[in-house]
Structure formats: C-alpha cells, structure tokens
C-alpha cells in the first residue's frame, strides 16, 4: 500500500498513520550472538499493546559471512514476479549481487497475505568520486520504494536485517522462523496497534534505512512541521507514518550531520526554556542554540522510540513523558522496553531496572557502559 502521491499541492498528501505500540530491545554489550527467543517472549508479554496488524524484528550481527555486503531484504506484494524482475534488473544494473535467495518461511504461520520476501547481498557498482556508498544505497532504496510498484525494501544495512509483517509479532516470528534460524547480538521488536490504516507488510516496524532501524510508539503532533523540514533536506515521506519521520530525522542528524545521540536527544526532546535558563552559561548557550537551529525537529506529542544501528541502541521518550519506557540490565544484557514486565518475563532477575526521565536517552553501546549514564537521570 504505497501511496500514489500528487505533489501539486500538499493538500493531496495522504493523512498520516495513527498508531500505538509495544517496543522491546535487547543487546549483548559484549557482542555475543543469541537467538530470537527473548525478543519474541518479551513482546508476547505485551500482547495488549498490539492488535495483530503488524509486528517486526531487527537483528544485528545477522550475516557475519556476508558482513562486507549490503544485505537487502525486499518484499514483493502479492508475490508479484514482474516487480521482482524489475528489481532484479535494477539491482543488477547498479550493484554487484554476490548472492540472493528467497527468505525461507513457514507457510503454516498465522499471518495475513504474506508477500514474497527475498534477500540480496550486494556491493555498489558506482563511478569514482560520486556519492558515498551509503548515500548511493539510500538513493537506490528510495528509487525501489517510490518507483517500482509492489516492491518495498524492508532493510538495506550490512550484517543486519529486518523481518516484519502483518500479524501479531509472534506469528511474524513463526513465519520467518526467527527462533530457530537466526542469531544476532542485538534485537529490537515492535508490536503495532494502528487506528486508522489496515496492515500492510511494508508499513510494519521496524522502519529501516541502511543499518538504522526505528521502532516507535506514539502519535507526534509536530509531524507536519518535522516532515516539511525533512523534505527540505531531500527526505520525501512515502509511508506517512511518524516512524518514517523519526527514522529520517535520525538519519539526517546522526548519519549525515554526525551528531551523537546525546545531542540529538536534546533536539528531539528539548529541555523546557525554564530549565535552560537555570543552566550554567555554556550549557544555556548550547541548549538555546540547539532549540533555535533545530526547532523544526523538536518532536512534540507522545512518543517512545528505540533506534538501533551497529554497536548502538538507544531509547528515548518525549519531553513530558507521555509514553512509557523502562530500562534493565543483567550481566552483559541490556534491555529497553515499553514495560518492565516484559523485561522480567525474559530475565526475572535484573541487576538494575530503571525508568528514565522524559527526554533522557538510554544509550546502550557495545563494549561500553554508557547506559549507566542515564541512571542518574532516572525517575
């Protein structure tokens, strides 16, 4: 269900998707790979947060044998083989495809209208001095998503992949046989409760570009402002979801402009002016400047988001904390979740469990203890 977009006037753009959700993420900070059981069990524990119209997983450290190649997970709506032919031709023209296959599925799983899902391992075929590899891939992914009907790219990063679909998350896991077939050092998962759109496999979360994935819960009231600002930077929304806006904002600020999440979180969930005024002079100047320059990327209204890319996962909730997030740690495992109960369901004993304040990010990094920094800002 991609939209045919008439851009003569903004009034023809589709209304955005409204949804609520359950989120969960887990990372082994020593980088040890593990299976999908924890992610599946945790999200099942939050069943009431979804309604069976979407579930999905992002797995990092997924394809160590192909880790130098971009792994593309591409779905073909209604198993449309002519779309696949177009994609095959497009990929062959722009990439060296080193290996490709259908992603194995379990046909008895309880999912609705499963598409054909294929994975390709590719290397960019490009002339010197042009775009960076990443930007090249982004451009090609955008092309497939906007120009090839019935084809949609689930994910396009190296050594990672997104598996998602319409159904409860455990059904999607069963369909892709996530509990038996795959391992990774980091998993994020999402259960969806859309209120105004029917499910479409491409519209499930995680939303991904390159190795960045976003799972999101919320309905942001600043959507229109955020979307227009991102369009100015070349990000044209095709799905009209809040998640898409979050993903592009993260891509712009973190990947393209190189800001760390510790700063980006202060853009998305900016401290109140009252608070800024009581900071020391240097910080006051910094926070004032951030709010001034990045005002269009303040994310207003309720949201919680878990963003991941290789080596890093962070969770953040809006500045007045209208949606929940909880963090926990046990040994080398660090968890982020909509509910503490879901963390306890997979790890009854925790070394630490804490609730971060609105706008305070919990940053989990490989081989680091950065997540502990958010402890002092917990509720």
């Amino acid at each position: 269900m991609k939209f045919d977009i008439d851009r003569r006037s903004e009034r023809y753009l589709p209304t955005k998707d409204i949804q609520a959700c359950g989120l969960f993420g887990v990372m082994n900070i020593e980088g040890k790979r593990f299976g999908g059981e924890m992610a599946i069990k945790a999200i099942v524990n939050m069943k009431a947060r979804g309604n069976g119209l979407g579930g999905g997983y992002a797995v990092y450290g997924l394809y160590p044998e192909y880790k130098d190649y971009y792994a593309m997970h591409i779905m073909f709506q209604d198993r449309n083989m002519s779309a696949k032919k177009k994609v095959d031709e497009f990929l062959a023209k722009n990439f060296d495809v080193v290996y490709d296959e259908e992603i194995p599925t379990n046909p008895s799983a309880k999912v609705m209208y499963p598409p054909l899902v294929w994975r390709y391992f590719v290397a960019p075929k490009k002339s010197e001095g042009s775009l960076s590899d990443d930007d090249y891939v982004v451009e090609k992914v955008m092309h497939i998503n906007t120009s090839i009907e019935d084809a949609y790219v689930f994910s396009s990063g190296k050594d990672m992949g997104v598996f998602k679909g319409v159904g409860f998350p455990e059904d999607v896991a069963e369909f892709f046989m996530l509990d038996e077939m795959y391992e990774g050092y980091m998993w994020t998962v999402h259960s969806r409760f859309p209120t105004n759109t029917p499910g479409w496999w491409g519209g499930a979360h995680p939303f991904s570009i390159l190795d960045w994935t976003v799972v999101h819960n919320g309905e942001i009231s600043s959507y229109g402002t955020n979307r227009r600002f991102l369009e100015m930077h070349g990000y044209y929304c095709t799905l009209f979801t809040d998640t898409e806006v979050m993903a592009y904002a993260v891509d712009l600020l973190m990947r393209r402009q190189g800001l760390p999440i510790e700063i980006v979180s202060k853009i998305f969930a900016a401290p109140m002016w009252d608070l800024i005024e009581n900071m020391d002079e240097k910080k006051r100047k910094l926070y004032t400047t951030l709010r001034m320059v990045y005002a269009p990327l303040l994310i207003n209204g309720p949201f919680t988001v878990i963003v991941a890319h290789h080596g890093e996962m962070f969770g953040i909730t809006d500045r007045i904390r209208l949606r929940p997030i909880t963090a926990g740690a046990r040994g080398d495992f660090v968890f982020l979740s909509s509910e503490e109960a879901a963390i306890r369901a997979v790890s009854p004993k925790l070394d630490l469990a804490w609730t971060p304040r609105g706008g305070e990010p919990v940053v989990v990094r490989l081989k680091k203890k950065d997540h502990l920094l958010s402890l002092k800002e917990s509720v």
Partner: protein, 506 residues
C-alpha cells in the same frame, strides 16, 4: 460650492440624560458638538462627525448615540451609498480620495475559512495551566547544520559553527511599523514600553527613533530604512534589534508616502532629520533599489554598518508573484522576509489603492512558505506576516501556515483607543494616537496605553497556549508550517491547493 454629500453619522442625544457638562464639546476633534449658552442646549454639526465614538465613551451620562446615518439613496447593488459619496466628494474636490486604516472591503478572509485541530484519544491534549507551554521564537537566519566538538562524556560541548544573529521574542507577535509622525509620541512610546515589558519588538516605521527612546527601548525595536531614509543614522541602526528595509506596504503596494508639513513639528523634524514644517515625502521605490542585486547591496551595506550583528528584514507588500520575490529576497541575503497583505493598515493611502491592490496575506504566506521550502532555503530566513490579524486565532493559523511571527498594527491601535474611523490622514485623531496636536496627544497616557497593549499581548498569548495545548503541542515551533493541523471550510479547490490545506473531513 454647496456640498451634495450626505452626513456619514447621525448623533442622537437624550436630552433627559444630558447634563450640559460639555465633555463632548471638549473631546470632539472635529468641532461637532457646540453648547449654546443662551438656550442652554447642545447642538451637533453632523456633517463633520467621523464616528470615532470619543464623545459617546466619555459622556458621563451615556446620553449620546452615534450611528451610521440612515439617510440613503435608492438602494442599488452597484451604486452603493459609499460609491455615490465618493463620486460627489471627487466632483467637489478633484482630488485623490484619501483614507486611513486597512482595506474594509469584503474580500474573502481566509482565516474565517480555516479551522484548527484538537487532540482526542490517540494523543493527549496538554493543559497550559499545569504544564509548560512555550511561545519563545527566534527571528533570523539559521545555519544549515551545527558542527560541534564534545568531550568523551558529552558534558562539555562546543559549537563550532558560526551563527547568524537572531532575535528572541517571548511571543510570536510584534507591533507593526507605525512611524513617529504618523502616530503621536505618546502612542509610539506606548508601543515601545509594551514591547519591552512583554519581551517582544515594535517597529519604528520610517520616521526614525527619537533619541530619548534609544537607550531604553532600542533593544526592542525593528528600525526601518525606507525610501525616504528619514531618521537613519549609525546610532539608529546600532541600537536596534532588527533592521528592516521597507520596500512596500500592504495598504498601498507600489506607492510611497506623504507626511504633510503641518505634522512635521520640531521634534519630528529632529527625529526625521528634515526641516521643520516640510512635507516628508517617501518615494514609491527606493531610488537605490531598482533590482534584486541593488537590494542585496543595501542589505549588506546595513550589515556592514552594524558589524553583522543585526538580522536584516525586507518588508514587501503581498503582490501576485510574491513567492518568487520572497525567494529572491532570501537569496539576496535577508534574514527575515516580512510580507504585508491586502488588509494591511495605514495612516494614509489613496482609497483606490488600498481597496484594489495586493493579495490576501493568507495566500501569500502559504505560497512563500512553500516556495522557500521547495528551494531548500526556508531556514535561511524567518517569515513575518502582517495585514489584518484580528485575534489570536488568526495568529495561530498563520503560524500553522508557515509564519514565524505576526505583525499586528490595527489591534494595537484599537487596544490604545482607536475605533477605525479611518480618518488617520486628517491628523485630528480624537484618541490622541494619529495626531501631533498637543491638545489631543496629551489624552494618551503611555503608562496606561502600554498596560492595555501588554494586556492584549498577554491575552492573545494565553489563548494561543490554550489552542496549542489542545492540539497536543507544547512549543510553538512544532506548529510552524504544520498545515496538518488546519482544515478548510467553504473554500474552492484552488484555494485549498494554494493554502496546502485539506478540506474539513478529508
């Protein structure tokens, strides 16, 4: 010549209530009321009455009613009373008909066809009485991105990017350009005091900034550099918060201004730097700006003169190809684009121009915001809009259409006492606003008038906060350009397209 005009207003006096106190006689600037001692009676000369309601408000016994004169010609949809009166006036004088205030013709007011959103269930509304609700706004150019250096623990962060000057205002409302000369010193000072107290700006208009106000209120001024260059000196530029190059005005796009010599008193002559009693003529164009590259040179000349410490605004009237012009202005180096719409006010303008030239601000704003975004330069300039904003609802809708802040002129005048009698150009404002007659200007006490203005700003700001909270937004920047929170009612397809707003129910 015997005039064939009908009186505009009828004055009805309740003789039972009238106590012959003669307040009406003293308050009227047009000599309408007259007391006859022998008869112990009040008489009225209706032909002179402009309907300013000063006498009505000040009558201690509420003995007076002033209302549109009932005598009229045969009703005719084409040849209305106003048109016939204008014809007779012109036949008797042979002149251009002058008027004051904004366009009063029934052009579509788009604000009345746009409705706002509110949160229900899927995201919560926010209560501004219990939670912070932020209206703080920055006017000026923003960089494409911020480069920063940070320590290992992210505690020590340095901004590497050089920033452009921006001005912070506490509410997205600033006072429009009304010059000292057009309005009285007291009215001018009232605007300055209110802007300072509330943390916003007032625009000096093109008449300079009196030396006596520079130190205290300079930081709250937008100083204009207009075609007459009145009152422009280095100090004037350097005490300001913002410098504005005035190209055009919504009430009279394409033409200049004329302050008659009788208004140029000694103080005004000093401030404007012209001889006392001479006409202050503002040419239609700026004679050093005949093209966009000329504009760019003036922008940078002003920046040079102020060490690149002030945002420079360029104010234009909303005309047909306003979007392309605005884009050129931003590329020429302006930090703010100010657009004044069809209903913008004035102290004096030819009526035929005021009522027929320019386009509505709503459509101009939507077109400019869209064009700047499409060209990827929206962040390079703030958009200030002016022209007929009547209440906080209009302001918040303008912000949702893409404005950074709104200029208000008429509402500020009304708050100080103005009743929109449209006779500003006569210099006989009975409310002490648009006059230089010391007998009249004394009526306006800046302490009181500034309190009325601050109350207006506070009231509107509270209302904006309520509406923002209702939409689940707690900072004004999250509504800026957020047309998703607007819907159109009773608009044509093309109008919705230009506004970039869906119809209600869509």
């Amino acid at each position: 010549m015997k005039t064939f005009m009908l009186p505009e207003f009828i004055i009805e006096r309740s003789d039972e209530r009238c106590i012959r106190c003669k307040v009406c006689e003293r308050q009227c600037a047009e000599n309408v009321h007259r007391y006859d001692e022998e008869l112990d009676m009040m008489f009225e000369d209706e032909m002179n009455c402009v309907g300013c309601q000063r006498c009505v408000v000040f009558c201690p016994t509420n003995a007076l009613t002033v209302r549109p004169h009932p005598s009229t010609y045969r009703p005719n949809a084409n040849w209305t009373r106003e048109r016939l009166q204008d014809l007779k006036k012109q036949a008797e004088t042979g002149g251009v008909i002058l008027t004051g205030s904004g366009n009063d013709k029934p052009y579509r007011i788009y604000w009345d066809h746009l409705v706002l959103n509110a949160s229900q269930v899927t995201n919560p509304s926010i209560d501004p009485l219990r939670e912070p609700m932020e209206l703080r706004t920055f006017l000026g150019r923003k960089p494409d991105k911020l480069d920063i250096e940070y320590s290992e623990d992210y505690e020590d962060v340095d901004i590497e990017t050089e920033l452009f000057p921006n001005v912070m205002i506490e509410t997205p409302i600033v006072f429009s350009a009304m010059s000292y000369g057009a309005i009285s010193y007291n009215a001018f000072k009232s605007l300055a005091m209110a802007a300072k107290e509330y943390g916003t700006l007032f625009n000096t208009g093109e008449g300079g900034l009196p030396k006596s106000l520079r130190e205290e209120y300079g930081g709250n001024t937008i100083v204009q550099v207009a075609s007459g260059r009145f009152g422009v000196d280095p100090e004037y530029l350097n005490v300001s918060a913002v410098i504005e190059i005035k190209i055009g005005q919504g009430a009279k796009p394409g033409i200049g201004g004329h302050l008659p010599g009788e208004k140029v008193t000694i103080n005004i002559s000093e401030t404007r730097m012209i001889p006392e009693g001479t006409d202050a003529l503002s040419p239609a164009p700026q004679h050093d700006i005949y093209s966009i590259e000329d504009l760019s040179m003036l922008i940078y000349a002003l920046k040079e003169a102020t060490n690149y410490e002030k945002p420079v605004s360029v104010k234009i009237a909303a005309v047909h190809n306003v979007a392309a012009i605005a884009s050129g202005i931003v590329r020429a180096g302006a930090d703010i684009v100010a657009i004044d719409g069809l209903r913008g006010g004035t102290g004096a303008a030819p009526k035929i121009i005021r009522d027929n030239v320019g386009i509505p601000i709503e459509l101009a704003l939507a077109a400019v915001d869209r064009r700047l975004r499409e060209e990827g330069i929206r962040h390079k300039a703030s958009i200030l809009v002016a022209g007929g904003f009547r209440n906080s609802g209009d302001v918040i809708k303008a912000i949702a259409l893409g404005a950074d802040a709104v200029y208000i002129g008429t509402p500020a005048l009304v708050a100080m006492g103005c009743t929109l009698c449209q006779k500003c150009y006569t210099g006989k404002c009975a409310w002490g606003i648009c006059t230089q007659d010391p007998y009249l200007t004394r009526r306006l006490n800046p302490e009181i008038a500034s309190r009325r203005l601050v109350n207006l700003l506070r009231g509107w700001s509270h209302e904006i906060k309520e509406m923002l909270g209702g939409m689940g937004i707690n900072a004004i920047e999250s509504l800026r350009g957020n047309r998703d929170h607007l819907r159109g009612v009773g608009l044509e397809e093309w109008e919705l397209n230009v506004l970039g707003v869906k119809g209600a129910g869509e």
